[in-house]
Amino acid sequence: MAKVFLVDDDPDFVEATAVILESKGHEVIKLYDGDECLEKLKEVTPDLIVLDVMMPRLDGYKVCKILKGDPKYEKIPVLLLTAVAANIPTTRYTQLQGMETEADDYVDKPVEPEELVRRVEILLKRAS
């Protein structure tokens, strides 16, 4: 099973999401901000990173951009999570930004457990 970085500043969300991913047998490494994620990458290379967009300091876009701009990490699939309503046009740009950062997929929070699991599996399959 896969090794997944789960990066979100909301510990409750991290915990719940970890339960969902672990129920499918994935190994989840819980991280609580962008810097922690980059730090951890120095010692562990995950199969997938689930990354929240809205985080203090280094937000998800920036982390994603750094990862995709680094030959060491660019291959790791990134799933962006956002709690911004996608149907509000003024925030539509956030989605576009997500695309520009070359995230491999993005999904609105909250996400159905089944949907999250399916998206994670598709990304893993594509990467392997």
Binding site: A16, I88, T91
Partner: protein
């Protein structure tokens, strides 16, 4: 002939002549003034300057001579026709008087007819000259007024901070001011006048607005907002009507709303922030419930409660979304861009999107499209929201086994879309309130249905922002039909406008 005429002055030293003149001329309706010598005559001329229509002047008088009186009289009142009375029928004196400016002469003795005639002729001349003078003055004043008005209008238009752009009935540029040039990025005036708008202006919105205004039969102002390079511009376009109410062209006033972009950006950030702050905790709750619900050994009752909790959390997120959407509509941002839309394409897309929901609930969902329809000027995203909301309601409030039907038609100037269901229906007394915010019908049948009570308020807001309207027909127990009317665009896809 007793009509009232003007004043005639008779200057003569002979009383018989004065009285004779007075008798004859008063009968004609003249007001006759008599002077028995030159000085008295000149005093009259002085006080009645401009009022005397004819002066009869005897050339041969004791004291001051008639010739001198004539000269001084004409200095005082140069316009008055003077008829000299020559006592001894010498043509010489008469000729000299004419040279000095007398209008006519009459030799003594004269008959009353001769007098009438000569005075009549002189008065006529006086009247014509005065009339000509009046017309000349009036014309001069009118010309001056027009010039001044034109100048004033020109200055007003040139100095306006808002752009002004005028086209003729063919959509050719007839006039624009510096502000319009700056806002639209136009070049030199002499190069642009007479050119077609679409050759010069790159804004599709403005081209469409001008076309719409030219096609408009009544009087209507078309207001649009559009981005042009780094600017946000609001344009108000109206037809200019001729006397026969035909369209002679259009006038567009352009407001520079670029400062709103920054405001908009800040507002967008604020909304995104609020949205995030409100949704995040609920998202966490929902995710936690989702995680707990993964457990297989949950008791049936616990599972039901947790599922219900998750349902409510989702409802709360939905509520936040809709409130944000509604605040946007109320801020007048429902129609942010207008383009020519084929409504049937939007409807088709929404029906396809909603089909799985209908299917999951065991409903039949049909779309009936018999013909294609004229385009509508609108915001595709907004209209999608309208039909999504209406279909979602129809599906929610129709029990299993029922039918949801979407039909389209054309009614007058409107493209109409009807969403009908065989659902629970709406009681008659509730109908007036269903478009109110947070209004939900509570009956035993609807108790289990979650909703925010904002959907129809949003629908109505968007439809009205498109200058359309929505109607509802319903019968409890039988079903409801919501019909949206959207004004068809009068634009017959003009040259240079692409359908997007």
């Amino acid at each position: 002939m007793k009509e009232h005429k003007g004043k005639v002055l008779v200057i003569d030293d002979e009383a018989a002549i004065r009285e004779g003149c007075e008798r004859v001329l008063s009968k004609e309706g003249w007001e006759v003034l008599l002077a028995s010598d030159g000085y008295e005559g000149l005093r009259f001329a002085e006080t009645l300057r401009g009022e005397l229509e004819v002066v009869l002047l005897d050339l041969k008088m004791p004291g001051i001579s008639g010739m001198e009186v004539l000269e001084r009289l004409l200095m005082t009142d140069p316009k008055v026709p003077v008829i000299v009375i020559t006592g001894y029928a010498t043509v010489d004196a008469a000729v000299e008087a004419m040279k000095k400016g007398a209008y006519d002469f009459i030799p003594k003795p004269f008959t009353s007819d001769q007098l009438r005639l000569v005075v009549q002729r002189a008065a006529e001349k006086f009247r014509l000259e005065r009339e000509a003078e009046r017309l000349r003055l009036e014309a001069a004043r009118t010309l001056r007024d027009i010039a001044r008005e034109k100048g004033r209008l020109f200055t007003v238009i040139e100095c306006m901070a808002d752009g002004v752009l005028v086209t003729d009935d063919q959509g050719r540029i007839a006039l624009f001011n510096p502000a319009a040039s700056r806002l639209l990025g136009l070049g030199q005036e002499e190069e642009l006048l007479g050119r077609r708008l679409e050759e010069v202006v790159s804004s599709e919105e403005l081209k469409i607005a001008v076309q719409e205004a030219l096609a408009e039969e009544g009087y209507k102002v078309f207001t649009q907002e559009f981005r042009l390079r780094d600017r946000l511009i609001r344009a108000h376009t109206a037809p200019v009507k001729g006397e026969d109410r035909s369209n002679m062209g259009t006038v567009t006033v352009l407001e520079d709303l670029s400062y709103l972009l920054e405001l908009d950006r800040m507002k967008g950030e604020f909304i995104a922030m609020v949205s995030h702050e409100l949704r995040s905790p609920v998202a966490a709750i929902e995710q936690i419930l989702g995680a707990v619900l993964l457990k297989e050994d949950l008791g049936e009752r616990d599972r039901r409660l947790l599922e219900r909790a998750r349902e409510r959390a989702r409802g709360l997120i939905e509520l936040v979304n809709k409130l944000l959407e509604l605040s946007r509509i109320e801020a007048g941002m429902a129609v942010q861009r207008r383009e020519l839309i084929q409504v049937e394409e939007v409807v088709q897309k929404v029906v396809e999107l909603m089909a799985p929901q209908a299917l999951a609930k065991g409903l039949e969902l049909n779309l009936e499209l018999k013909a294609s329809f004229p385009p509508v000027l609108g915001d595709p995203q907004g209209l999608e929201g309208v039909f999504t909301n209406l279909l979602s309601n129809a599906i929610k409030y129709t029990p299993k086994g029922g039918k949801v039907m979407v039909t389209m038609g054309l009614e007058g100037e409107y493209v109409k879309v009807s969403v009908s269901d065989t659902g629970v229906g709406i009681p008659k007394e509730e109908l007036p309130r269903i478009f109110d915010k947070f209004y939900r019908i509570r009956t035993t049948q609807t108790r289990e249905i979650t909703g925010t009570g904002l959907g129809l308020a949003i629908v109505k807001g968007i439809v009205e922002a498109h200058l359309g309207r929505i109607e509802v027909q319903s019968e409890p127990g039988k079903g409801s039909t919501f019909t949206v009317f959207l004004p068809r665009s009068k634009v017959v896809l003009p040259y240079g406008v692409s359908r997007s």
